[in-house]
């Protein structure tokens, strides 16, 4: 275990924590007493059919989902829906390398896959909330990977699905990009094979990791049109340090690596012996596939190719020059497009 005040109720709460017991992992390990942190908004109705599940993205927690996506009058309206945001394993609030006691923590934390997260979340929503139906599963980036996994794995539970800025099967290009992020961290001598005394020992690696996020995370248009200045940052360096590194520099390197490993290997076709068409054809949810138009991680063409394989799906790209990081909500127009599509999706009968 390692002290890190970033992962706290003060920074990211209020959130609840539920122990789902031992979680046996696809790669062979076990997380003993696996804890999932979640934040819930609104009230479950009597029919128990108004629950929405939102999984989290790389480096994100339930807090940013709450801040950017949930609110009265929004698509994810707590006056109408019971919205549960579940923090993915490794994100620092749920069971993660940094908060797992010896000997299984830090670099010894076992390999986790997207499918493990989704099975764990399924336990949470059934055991804790008694749900057998989700009106919607929606998530961005790694949240989209989990959304696809939910829709393929539990087709009778998931009534609607909104994978945003993410794919059902990760591309080899995106795998390679994530590998450069991993190596930015692991190549820092302060990383010490994952057994550092403090995440601050890895500050240089985390800064390189941050810069690579800045290169691929926004878009060339974003910088050409001086969007960073509009957002209050005087230069690219100012944006990199005071927006992006301000976040990544507080995070635990092993936590990031745990998530990156999952992200690289997200692939629903593991459920069907590698047949992506067969996997996606299992989806019963009404699905809106929503890439960001300028996304360099998960380009629209990649998302569109998957959309064609989903039985009851619509392709709803979001127009923005904020790239993948439009998910952060800095482009209000992108967020309003998202809200409009999500509202429309929620209005469809199932």
């Amino acid at each position: 275990m390692i002290e890190n005040s970033y992962y706290s109720q003060e920074m990211h709460g209020p959130y609840g924590v539920h122990d789902i017991g031992n979680l046996e992992l696809e790669e062979g390990g076990t997380i003993r007493g696996c804890k999932l942190a979640y934040a819930a908004f609104g009230t479950l109705n009597e029919a128990r059919d108004n629950a929405i599940l939102i999984p989290t993205w790389y480096g994100g927690t339930s807090k940013i989902i709450e801040q950017v996506y949930i609110g009265p009058g929004r698509a994810l309206d707590p006056d109408k829906y019971f919205v549960i945001v579940i923090n993915q394993i490794g994100n620092g609030l749920s069971s993660s390398p940094h908060n797992t006691p010896p000997p299984a923590g830090m670099a010894n934390f076992p390999r986790v896959r997207i499918g493990d997260d989704v099975r764990a979340q399924h336990r949470l929503v059934t055991e804790k909330f008694g749900l057998d139906s989700l009106a919607l599963v929606a998530g961005g980036s790694m949240g989209a990977q989990q959304t696809y996994e939910w829709a393929v794995r539990y087709p009778d539970v998931v009534k609607r699905a909104a994978p945003i800025a993410g794919t059902a099967k990760n591309t080899i290009h995106d795998f390679l990009f994530a590998e450069t992020l991993v190596e930015a961290i692991t190549s820092d001598p302060g990383f010490n094979k994952g057994f550092y005394a403090s995440h601050e020992d890895v500050r240089e690696g985390l800064l390189r990791h941050t810069k690579m996020w800045a290169v691929m995370g926004w878009s060339t248009e974003f910088f050409q049109q001086n969007r960073h200045k509009v957002l209050g940052y005087s230069s690219v360096d100012d944006l990199v340090i005071n927006l992006m590194y301000d976040l990544f520099s507080r995070m635990d390197p092993n936590n990031l690596l745990c998530m990156a490993w999952k992200w690289q290997r997200g692939d629903v076709s593991r459920q069907t012996g590698g047949d992506l068409r067969a996997a996606l054809s299992r989806i019963k949810a009404k699905t809106f596939v929503m890439p960001m138009s300028s996304d360099m991680f998960f380009p629209p063409a990649d998302c569109q190719a998957e959309w064609r394989l989903i039985p009851n799906a619509e392709f709803r790209p979001i127009q923005t020059i904020d790239g993948h990081l439009a998910l952060l909500g800095a482009d209000p127009d992108a967020i309003s497009q998202l809200d409009r599509h999500l509202s429309e999706l929620l209005a469809t009968g199932t």
Copy 2:
């Protein structure tokens, strides 16, 4: 000085070497006895008006230009033109960190700018070949940066210009990308602040540098369409190691950093107090602006914005999914488009 058999007549020759004397640099340093390596093809005609100058790109030498772009029946036809390929400072054949004797070599090699290269090349073509006119200056990537610099700095010399996959003023996004390449190298403990015993001491940094080239250098489409397999590489890793790292792993890290520093700061508006419009309006050459359609370094939109500021220019994008690295010539269709445009440009009267 450091031994490196990669930079040799055996690997990249035959090439000539011309000493242009001391080169005082824009940043204040001096390269004493600055040597430019060049390869010449064809014969200068009596009117001395059939010379074509080709500057080189990051990590490239005159050899790949010869192999991919020059030949009888091609646009750059040595039966018709006198084609001089001049190796940029820092590329390992011309004066570079690795081949400069102490105390000025390795990490002490002075900062060089694109403008320094072009002034040095101007000395070479006037002193050595007595040229006061160039029928064409054409180059890719950093070669495009030098092409723009030539056309702005010597408007009466350059009759035609073909900047390919590059910009006149580097974007801040591309600056940031190149910074991640720099840091991949400098963060390797074996780099030892630039005073390593062998480039092999920096092998891990060079490998990270290579992978980031692979992420940004091709395109997502390239991998989705399995172009790497078409080219004979069984996986992305196979491509990264056996095509890209096979080259970069032999290069000198300080040489790469010298070129990267220049690349980041390429900007013809330095000649006009920061006014890009004023700089580009100086160009008298008939100019074809030729971005690669899928280029993530120098996207077509960035090149198009500059094209609008050039008096006598046409916008001629090359359709390819090979991204920036289409320059390497693996997409024969891209190369044939290039040839067609260059032939047309050379046929225009001036």
